[in-house]
Amino acid sequence: MIKKRYILNFPPQSGDKAFTYHLVKEYDIRINILKAEVYPGKRGSLLLELQGKKENIEKGVEYIKSHKITCESLDKRIRWKEEKCIDCGNCTAVCFAGALNMDKQSWELEFDKSKCVVCELCIPACPLNLFEIDFR
């Protein structure tokens, strides 16, 4: 069993299909919807956590992609310009998901992208503007 987060972007014409239902029913994947923005007739974006057998998740992702929906792993959509980070800690103040933490020994910023829920609060919280999340 593995657990992984994906961002899905729907084109306007696919907004009314029950993809998550098929993921559960046909691929035996446990899904957790962490964030959803759906604008019928325009576009939709979804942050999904998929839990299941590795091969099932791979097949499920292929199934989604075959319907002209982009499906990319969350960490590929998050950019943190680490080399410019000054380890001030401002982003950790707003990260209630626990993805951004200060190491209590070195006081360096640690970013566990797998815990991100795309609340996007770190983007304005960083005084150096070092975060970018491509959700939409």
């Binding site: 380890d87 950790t92 103040a93 005084p127």
Partner: protein
């Protein structure tokens, strides 16, 4: 009688490479086993440091004279307004100044761009005079074309600072970071036991002329900082439990490093600048040894509600609690986050330690000590006649 040392003796030891230099964190550890009497015997200099956003910062710039010359009466650097009331081609650019059309880029960014060697657009206007006939100039400048480029920060290195929380139901965007509603986070900005003015709380060694680490080079304490407040409430160890004294500092930006000067922009607040400061404290006697031995469990600070006008005090916590990750305020456990870099502060303390050990840096006896009985005025508003 216990040991006392003079500045001269310590400097001789530094020059000979025989001085013992420790960081304030190292000496706080040492103090768990040794008495102040033993520490003054063993340790000669203690290095302290901070790397935080310090809004009251800026740079003096002399642009040099153009031909024909101009007496600049309105000045912009990359669109950011600079002070124009200093002769023909002198200016002061404040870190927090910004162009209202592009509020995320401010004076701190101009300073950083210059420091990184980038070109910056200078535009200035004037009425034209007999001796300065020109009315307008627009040109590129950089760190090599300007004459003086001097960091002059009127208020830096706050002695202690408050913890910020927010009791209201909406997020508050402040210079202490984004404060989540209903006490869901708490931010603090002081480097605790490593912080310069907490290791010399009564200014026994820090004064006018103290040589310091500033932005990666040698700088100086040039005056008490603005809002210099020495009579705020103190704990039993004589350490203020809220923001107290400050220092004004100066140094040559042309010698500084972008690693220790960093522009910053805070959501719905504005621009500020991270400044790296390190101050060596000579261990002259037992009293100073006692002061530098202080550790995070002995330094307290006030928790203030930044969501409510008047920022009421909700509690008092230690830096040990703050650095543990959670504090308890009004019976509620709150997650803490720093907004100043302890990692960078440690790097500065280590760097300064190396300079001292290599004999590249002397401790300096202040030429004048600061007042010890200061307090502050608020801004009292009085009626203004309209005639």
């Amino acid at each position: 009688m216990s040991t006392t040392k003079t500045y001269e003796e310590i400097n001789q030891k530094l020059k000979a490479g025989k001085a013992v230099v420790l960081t304030a964190e190292e000496v706080a550890q040492m103090a768990k086993e040794l008495t102040p009497e033993e520490i003054v015997e063993k340790v000669d200099v203690v290095t302290t440091a901070t790397f935080g956003a310090m809004c009251s910062s800026g740079a003096i710039i002399n642009f040099g004279h153009a031909n024909p010359p101009i007496r600049m009466e309105k000045i912009r650097l990359n669109g950011v307004p600079c002070y124009e009331g200093l002769a023909a081609v002198d200016s002061y650019i404040g870190a927090t100044a910004c162009n209202p059309d592009n509020p995320e880029y401010g004076g701190a960014h101009v300073i950083q761009d210059l420091l990184e060697g980038k070109d910056v657009v200078l535009e200035a206007w004037a009425k034209g005079t007999d001796c300065y006939p020109r009315k307008h100039i627009k040109t590129k400048i950089n760190i090599n074309t300007i004459n003086e480029f001097t960091l002059f920060n009127p208020r830096n290195a706050y002695q202690n600072y408050n913890v910020a929380v927010n009791t209201t139901s909406t997020i508050k965007y402040t210079y202490m970071g984004s404060l989540l509603p209903n006490l869901r986070n708490a931010t603090y900005s002081t480097s605790g036991e490593l912080s310069p003015l907490l290791n010399d709380p009564e200014f026994k060694t820090i004064g006018l002329g103290t040589r310091i680490f500033l932005g990666g080079t040698q700088g100086f304490v040039v005056w008490p900082g603005t809002q210099f407040h020495t009579t705020k409430p103190k704990n039993e160890l004589g350490v203020p439990v809220t923001n107290g004294a400050t220092i004004a500092v100066m140094g040559n930006l042309k010698e500084m490093s972008p690693e220790y000067i960093q522009a910053a922009s805070y959501e719905k607040y504005g621009v500020s600048m991270f400044v790296g400061i390190g101050i060596p404290i000579p261990v002259l006697n037992v009293d100073i040894a006692k002061r530098v031995s202080i550790n995070n469990s002995q330094i307290e600070t006030s928790v203030l509600d930044y969501g409510t006008v008047g920022t009421p005090k909700l509690g008092q916590v230690t830096y040990e609690e703050l650095q543990s990750g959670t504090i308890k305020v009004k019976g509620k456990k709150i997650r803490t986050a720093p907004v100043a870099s302890l990692k960078k502060a440690r790097k500065i303390a280590d760097e300064l330690k190396k300079w001292l050990q290599n004999g590249e840096f002397e401790v300096s006896k202040p030429v004048h000590m600061f007042a010890s009985n200061t307090s502050l005025n608020g801004l009292k508003e009085t009626e203004v006649d309209n005639d």
